[in-house]
Amino acid sequence: MSEGIGAAVKRKEDKRFITGRGKYTDDIRMENQAYGAFVRSPHAHAEIKGIDTSAAEAMDGVIAVLNGKQLKDDAIGDIITGWAIHSKDGNPMNVGAWNPMATARVRHVGEPVAIVIAESQAQARLAAEAVEVDYEELPAVAAATTALEDGAPLLHDNVPGNLIFDWEIGDEAAADAGLAGASHVTELDIVNNRLAPNAIEPRSAIAVYNDIDDHYTLYTTSQNPHVARLVLSAFYNVAPEHKLRVIAPDVGGGFGSKIYIYPEEITCLWASMKTGRSVKWTSDRSEAFMTDAHARDHVTKARMGFDADGKIVGLKVNTVANIGAYASLFATATPTYLYGTLLSGQYNIANVYCDVKAVHTNTVPVDAYRGAGRPEATYVMERLMETAAREMGMDPAELRRRNFITEFPHQTPVIMTYDAGDFHALLEKGQAAADVAGFAARKSEAASRGKLRGIGYSCYIEACGIAPSKAVGSLGAGVGLWESAEVRVNPVGTIEILTGSHAHGQGHETTFAQVVSDRFGLPMDNITIVHGDTDKVQMGMGTYGSRSGAVGMNAIVKAMDKVEAKVKKIAAHTLEASEDDIVIEDGEVKVAGTDKKMAWHEVGLAAYTAHNLPDGMEPGLKEGAFYDPTNFTFPSGTYICEVEVDPETGVVEIVQFTAADDFGTVINPMIVEGQVHGGVTQGIGQALLENVVYDEDGQLITGSYMDYCMPRADDVPSYVLEHSTTVAPSNPLGVKGCGEAGAIGSPPAVINAITDAIGNNNLTMPATPQKVWAAIQEVGLPQAAE
């Protein structure tokens, strides 16, 4: 049917979004609302010698000025990291304590030191400027590799050498032996540039304390309100869960940055209790740059060995990962189990070894951002493959073909069991759609215009739909990563789906409704998706790691299984037929092969009137389910990028970008295309434009859009999209995650294309015109353009 699985249904939620009637956290106004403004450190590293709040307290409209020591005195807990990693020597990791507001020392520019609560936002901000903090500056370090050097400034007393952990995966001796016996070894130094997340809606919170019931409500920009409630209760001691309601209303983009429970939200809750006022705080863009968790920031040495036939015989990767001043919620998982486990790529490699040193620096905490570890792994793998092909004089597509995994399930040497895929098919589809055969002609035509044209591949695989709880638990996760759903069939037959997934741009109100519509043959208009409120939805783990489809939607399927079973029982009883003969289609519940039937809403009504139910059956038609996946899902794809470089200026134009993806069953192809468009654009942003820069004193010098360059529509081409499908065997719907793939697969395709065009592999992201021009000068113009 037209609204079911596979239909390109227009997004239900867009009506309110594009007419400006979405309701975001900052749109909410409470009756006794006051405003919070944070006093933030201008120093990267300093002791706090004193805080003088007297001038601020005397200013108009100021209700209170509260500091980190008071917060700690009230037993508000330190901010936690959710994944315990062990070093290769077996020791647990060392992470520095993270006070929600600094008490004695600040460790990055922008760290909150105090909060001013005032009647208006302007008064709060003005008074925050009047708080005098006496700092004694300490030496600071921003680069992770520098922080590991002897004599580097130390951030935390309990973290010797700033080293959080030195983790490994795979067999080092086997990888070394493989490399030693290789007939060719490709070696690369790789920097994965630091990014800022830049959701269009900045973070915001309103904390409402009700002293009569000793109850808190937090409206906030969260991707996972239940997880927020859990940690606010269990670790930050704000309130027990039954006295804390977290509501994440419409949220304008997250990309990972809104997974975490930040100092600001915790402080607003506590400040609301202290002042007896509702406290609202909304980040401005400048605050976002120095408080929202940054991303990537890896420095890697990688070596890949090949035999004479181009088969990979060994891979060894050494990575230094910048964690920032404090370890954020997923910060320790991202450069380990979301990174090292993907270093087999699409390839059959017997010997893989990876070592990761995670390091504290005087920078904003670094955490998961669209792809989280998997873009870094893919960048390592696909730069290596393309470079190796060039070094060995092979077609880069052919080198990949020789190494593709072709049999499933496939156990890699780095934990993952790939369950399905067809990498040859993806490469073929991608090559056909990109007209690779015609590239040589396009290149010489470009040369006639003085342009250098290049082509680059990226064959990615990623593990998403996180995650099997037992598996992640064994790897150190502090929580399970199942999802829950409740299907409420109303007496009139309409349906409410309560889901623990959270939509902040993904279109759940549409796709989730399509799955229900498909199952029961009901119009989508009869189905509503409820999410984002801990008082409404039973429980949930939220949306990140491309898990809403693969985990959240399958929880709905499991709950629908139970609804269907009960509907069939009621119908069989009413229609005097066998349960096994009942079928549900087109909104009707029928006895197969007869004309006996009930309308869907008649079954709903029967369930609630309960006048004629089978003996012993409970009234009502409402079922819930918790779904725990049995495996990750493994989307894969071939991305092919073509660029033209102006050798005079170094300006890169992406003239063609082809994405051939395997996302398993597709619920709504239009929404999936949108996810690919967005992901690829973010990847192109990383490859060409985006870079967070700290100076050597730890000052953030890309603190606005004047210095941090985001991709715009005219930076990207009209994408060519292709699909090749292998159904995911691990879940009932057969879906794989699609939200992150674009950002994971695209950066190496772009860089491989540019390095192909200019004939110099010595190029780092972002490939700005200046860098590309310098790389051209380094080797001279390629022959074809002279």
């Binding site: 520019v109 420095v299 870079n691 000052q699 953030l700 010098i701 603190g703 004047m706 780092t764």
Partner: protein, 169 residues
């Protein structure tokens, strides 16, 4: 940021030196200077209003003169706090030598900025600093009686600043 420059000032070296140590002269010549008080022979407090890119702030700071060689050279160093705008600190080695009918003033300055100034204004620091230095010496030159601003009489500086955007791996 590092910056060097030299200026020809049409006045005897002793007069230039005296002016360089005169709080009234300095107050009049420093662009945006609202207050400047000597707190000892070699220390002073100052309030200066500056606009760097999108950031406008009043800096309150302390300035100290060290390495004093009378009529020849000193090092002026200080730190200014601009509230939420951040902070700036730095110093300059200033040297006077006799020229042909003028005094040659050369300086080597270093400055660092932090907070909002660094986040929003780092790209503009070099050009702003150069502009402020030029403005200061233009004022200083005028104050010492120089009137014609053309040719060799005018100030010339050569800032050499590191590219703040250069990549750090």
């Amino acid at each position: 940021m590092d910056m060097t420059g030299e200026y020809q000032i049409a006045a005897p070296r002793a007069d230039v030196w005296q002016a360089l140590n005169d709080p009234d002269v300095l107050r009049a010549c420093i662009p945006g200077c609202e207050e400047l008080e000597m707190t000892s022979d070699t220390t002073m407090t100052a309030k200066v209003v500056q606009k760097i890119g999108p950031v406008k702030a009043k800096f309150a700071g302390e300035v100290e003169l060290v390495n004093i060689v009378v009529e020849e050279s000193y090092t002026i160093q200080g730190e200014g706090k601009g509230g939420v705008a951040g902070f700036a600190k730095g110093g300059a080695d200033v040297r006077l030598t006799d020229g042909d009918g003028h005094t040659l003033l050369t300086y080597e300055a270093q400055a660092t900025v932090g907070g909002k100034l660094a986040r929003l204004g780092s790209r503009l620091i070099n050009s702003t600093a150069k502009k402020l230095a030029d403005k200061f010496f233009e004022n200083f030159h005028d104050h010492l009686g120089g009137s014609d601003k053309d040719g060799e009489q005018s100030a010339s500086g050569t800032p050499e600043a590191k590219d703040a955007q250069s990549e750090r791996a």
